[in-house]
Structure formats: structure tokens, C-alpha cells
């Protein structure tokens, strides 16, 4: 399954890209599993997702927990807690 992923803040910096389209492997069904897969994929992912509890996720603009399924998602956004306003 093809999925667009957007990164923000230091997650973006550590990944080295603002967004990418990945081919999600069979067996990676939810947000938490995808983060674990990215962390295992390469050194940049290992750096960005070393502390998964610090990562927040949104699917198509809606905040989601690690158990949220990826099926039907167009865009997954991964980022640290907001510090804005």
C-alpha cells in the first residue's frame, strides 16, 4: 500500500525530507507499527524515531493514536508535540 508521509519540526530534520511516499509492507497495519518500521528502515529513521513516545501522528488532518489503522489513509503526518501559538 502506498502512503504519503509528512514530517515536521525535528522529525523532518532528522529524516532529511519533508515528505515521502512509502510502500507500506504487509503486516504494518497501524501508526505504531509504521513508526517502528521507519525506525528499523535506516539510520535517519532510527534517529527520528528513537523515542516513539515523543511522536504524535495525524491521519488526513486528524490526530490519531498509535493503534489507529492505516487502511484508507491518504496522508500520515508525524511530528513532536506542538509548541506553537
Amino acid at each position: 500500500m502506498a502512503l504519503n508521509i509528512a514530517y515536521f519540526s525535528w522529525v523532518r530534520e532528522r529524516m532529511g525530507v519533508a515528505d515521502e511516499t512509502v510502500d507500506v509492507p504487509a503486516g504494518v497495519g497501524d501508526v505504531g507499527a509504521l513508526i517502528a518500521w521507519l525506525a528499523a528502515r535506516d539510520a535517519r529513521g532510527a534517529l527520528a524515531f528513537a523515542e516513539p513516545q515523543r511522536i504524535r501522528a495525524a491521519i488526513d488532518g486528524v490526530m490519531m493514536g498509535p493503534d489507529a489503522p492505516l487502511s484508507g489513509a491518504r496522508e500520515l503526518a508525524l511530528f513532536p508535540p506542538v509548541t506553537g501559538g
Partner: protein, 150 residues
């Protein structure tokens, strides 16, 4: 009139006040947040998730306008790179009576801190660059309004 903007250009406070006041309102409360030059800050950079920030600001604005029967609301957030002294955020809420205008303004500025998808990066004069960590206080101030989430 509800005016909600996310912009990388400077916020023209006086012009926004003029635009907002065109109708004449009984009471107007405003909040202006500026970049503080503390601790040798040279630049503040605000990164945002465009779709979520716009939706978040729009929802907040409409929730406040409905709840406090605002006659006008201006809500403008700056993004991108800013120097100390520049305006980050402008909230301007008007109503027939003062209590509503003041409450709406306070609600908006508190909730802005947590509901909008923005990340701050600070660059200092000594060359250090760091993303700002989440602050506990923001969360607790915003939670005072929790029962009012639209």
C-alpha cells in the same frame, strides 16, 4: 466579520485594528504576542502543518464567535522566520459588552497554544539552534476551557 489568517508576512497591527473596527463595536479586547529577545535570541522560526493549522484556527474562531456572540473577530498567526519584537499573533475580539470580548480573547489565546499545529525553532546569537520543548503551563491553561471544546 470573522477574519482568520496564517501568514508569513508581517502582521500589520494598526491596519488590522482599522479593518476590524469598521463596524464600530461596544467593546473590543485584543492580545498581541511578540517575539521576545530573551537569552540572546536572534530568530524565531515557526513551522506549521498548513491544513491542520488552518482548520484549527477556523474552528477556534467560530467556536468563540458563537459562544460569546462576537460582532467581529480577527485571528492572525504569523509563520516562518521572525526577528525579536515582531508580532507572532494577533487576537482581536469585539462584542456589545466587555465581559464577552475579554473572555473570548483569553479563550482564543490560551487555546491557540495547544490547538494549532505549530512548532517553534529558536536560533541564538551564539549560533545555537533548538526546537522549543512543549510547556506544561500551556496545557493546563488550555484545559481550563476543556468543557467548551467545539
Amino acid at each position: 466579520m470573522i477574519r482568520v489568517l496564517v501568514q508569513s508576512s508581517a502582521i500589520e497591527v494598526a491596519a488590522e485594528f482599522d479593518l476590524h473596527d469598521a463596524g464600530g463595536h461596544g467593546a473590543s479586547a485584543s492580545f498581541i504576542g511578540r517575539v521576545r529577545g530573551d537569552h540572546g535570541l536572534a530568530e524565531l522560526f515557526l513551522e506549521h502543518h498548513p491544513v491542520m493549522t488552518e482548520a484549527g484556527l477556523g474552528n477556534l474562531a467560530h467556536a468563540a464567535a458563537d459562544r460569546w456572540k462576537l460582532s467581529a473577530l480577527t485571528l492572525i498567526h504569523r509563520i516562518g522566520a521572525m526577528a525579536p519584537g515582531e508580532t507572532i499573533v494577533l487576537v482581536l475580539a469585539s462584542s456589545a459588552h466587555r465581559a464577552e470580548a475579554l473572555a473570548a480573547c483569553e479563550f482564543l489565546i490560551d487555546r491557540l497554544k495547544t490547538d494549532v499545529m505549530l512548532w517553534k525553532r529558536e536560533s541564538f546569537t551564539d549560533g545555537r539552534v533548538a526546537w522549543v520543548e512543549e510547556r506544561e503551563g500551556d496545557q493546563s491553561r488550555a484545559e481550563r476551557w476543556e468543557s467548551d471544546i467545539p
